[in-house]
């Protein structure tokens, strides 16, 4: 298993998954089905999550195949520019979906403005992701390259796409900008552990006098911290892509993030949270909730440890 394989395995999810999500989301609005809408939002969140490794493995795949003859680096750059634009739209869609899921629980139904925003952003993401898939396919598939230079929409879009090389330089040109991003990454870490981490600890039985349902109200702050870390982490990756992609600690960290978020998703979706939401002061959480909370908590700390080992383990994956 190497980067080209992983990239091919992952890169279809953001395209097809988002299309599926939009389909479910639109249907749920038309037929006014709450469960369907929740499902579509979960699909958006899952796709936003899977987009991160799909994007990251692309850099490793690029390095592998530029060594081959007959591959146009120009086409790869176009694909990368397209990816760098669509990834942000995907992450915004994912973040809006998380907010909507939270609103489903707290206010029974998401805010109208949020539903509207999800609709806009998810449809835009589908378009941008389709273009990313198309430009990516053209790297290898000669048969789909069009003879003449694309449509108006195509040239209009490329105007908005960042030039990958320029974007990369922008991130690392000023060391104070880099220092600021890293600072924010630590602030995000603190918010996440202080809220989501403490909720997990409570489910495990630490400081049992705190009711779980009340503690859960702090979770949006942890999610905000996580969002801050996704943004600053992705910007850092864009700044030094080949530094990170050849680092086993970084690759494992990304895998652990996918697992930790999945664990959190399971906590809320399987009913593990519902089982302990009403538990008052001093009550023990059921075993299922404790298993999920414990695993997730270990993963969050593993992410911190792996993040710290990125620097000494640079070049641990052969170039």
């Amino acid at each position: 298993m190497d980067f080209p394989h992983l990239h091919l395995l992952l890169n279809h999810f953001p395209i097809i998954g988002t299309m599926l999500g939009v389909g479910l989301f639109l249907t749920s609005i038309v037929v006014k089905n709450r469960d369907l809408q929740i499902s579509s939002l979960v699909v958006f969140v899952a796709m936003a999550l899977l987009t991160i490794p799909a994007f990251i493995t692309g850099v490793g795949a690029q390095e592998k195949i530029v060594a081959d003859g007959g591959i146009s680096n120009e086409l790869i750059q176009r694909h990368e520019g397209s990816a760098e634009l669509s990834v942000w739209f995907m992450e915004i869609t994912g973040a809006l979906a998380v907010i909507a899921l939270w609103q489903f629980v707290r206010r029974r139904t998401p805010a109208r403005s949020n539903t509207f925003a999800i609709l806009i952003f998810s449809v835009l993401t589908v378009g941008l992701m389709a273009r990313t898939g198309n430009t990516g396919g053209e790297i290898r598939h000669l048969e789909i390259r069009s003879a003449e230079e694309g449509t108006i929409a195509d040239s209009a879009l490329s105007y908005f796409e960042p030039s990958p090389a320029k974007f990369t330089r922008l991130m690392i040109i000023n060391k104070w900008w880099w220092a600021f991003m890293m600072d924010m990454h630590f602030i995000g870490l603190v918010l996440l552990i202080g809220t989501i981490g403490m909720l997990n600890l409570r489910v495990l039985g630490f400081a049992k006098q705190v009711p779980i349902g009340a503690l859960n109200r702090l979770v949006p702050w942890g999610l905000a911290g996580f969002g801050l870390n996704v943004v600053t982490g992705m910007l850092a990756f864009i700044g030094m892509p080949t530094f990170y992609s050849h680092d086993i600690a970084f690759v494992l960290k990304i895998a652990a993030i996918v697992l930790a978020v999945t664990g959190m998703g399971l906590f809320y979706l399987t009913g593990a949270f519902r089982d302990c939401e009403g538990l008052g002061s001093g009550k023990d959480a059921p075993l299922r909730a404790r298993i999920i909370a414990g695993t997730t908590l270990v993963l969050w700390f593993a992410i911190i440890v792996l993040g710290r080992y990125i620097q000494p383990l640079q070049d641990s994956i052969a170039r």
Binding site: W176, V190, G197, A207, P211, A214, I304, Q311
Partner: protein, 170 residues
């Protein structure tokens, strides 16, 4: 600025050299991992308590949060020990950087603030919650400012040093 000679002597001790140069995964970065976990354990719960005092998640009863202080003191202990080792690995780098003294000062104030929070809000349990909160608001704001400052000053250590080791510029 002349770097005091004793820093060089400290750097040449076996422990300092090992911490700096060891290829082992239990070397410098192992200490740094503990420093980061300690940070999460001190500042994480403290930030959550600050948010609670400032009105977020008002359903959380304050008195049981007293138990979180155990975790925070543990994190503080981890960070004092790991911090000493980190300074031992690069004494010239630390002591020649004004930002290092700023960080230490901010840590001092933050701990002092945390202790006041514990005494005024949690040890004196017979007062009404409204009174507790009124007193705690200022401490909570300071807590967020001070810990934010500690993290920022700590991060900046890597970007502001003038010597890596004795006689070797950063």
């Amino acid at each position: 600025m002349t770097v005091p000679l004793f820093l060089n002597a400290l750097e040449r001790t076996g422990l300092s050299t090992w911490l700096r140069e060891s290829e082992s995964v239990f070397g410098f970065y192992f200490i740094l991992v503990f420093h980061t976990i300690g940070l999460a354990l001190v500042v994480g719960p403290n930030a959550a308590i600050d948010l609670r005092i400032l009105g977020v998640a008002a359903e959380i009863p304050l008195p049981p949060l007293r138990n979180w202080f155990t975790l925070m003191w543990l994190g503080l202990g981890i960070n004092i020990v790991s911090g000493v080792f980190l300074v031992l690995a690069y004494p010239s780098k630390a002591f020649t950087n004004p930002d290092f003294y700023l960080k230490l000062a901010l840590v001092g104030f933050a701990i002092w603030n945390l202790r006041r929070m514990k005494q005024q809000l949690f040890d004196d349990s017979d007062q009404a919650e409204a009174a507790t909160l009124a007193r705690g608001r200022r401490l909570a704001v300071w807590s967020l400012i001070l810990w934010g400052g500690v993290i920022t000053a700590g991060r900046l250590l890597a970007y502001t040093c003038s010597y890596l080791v004795y006689g070797v510029p950063c």
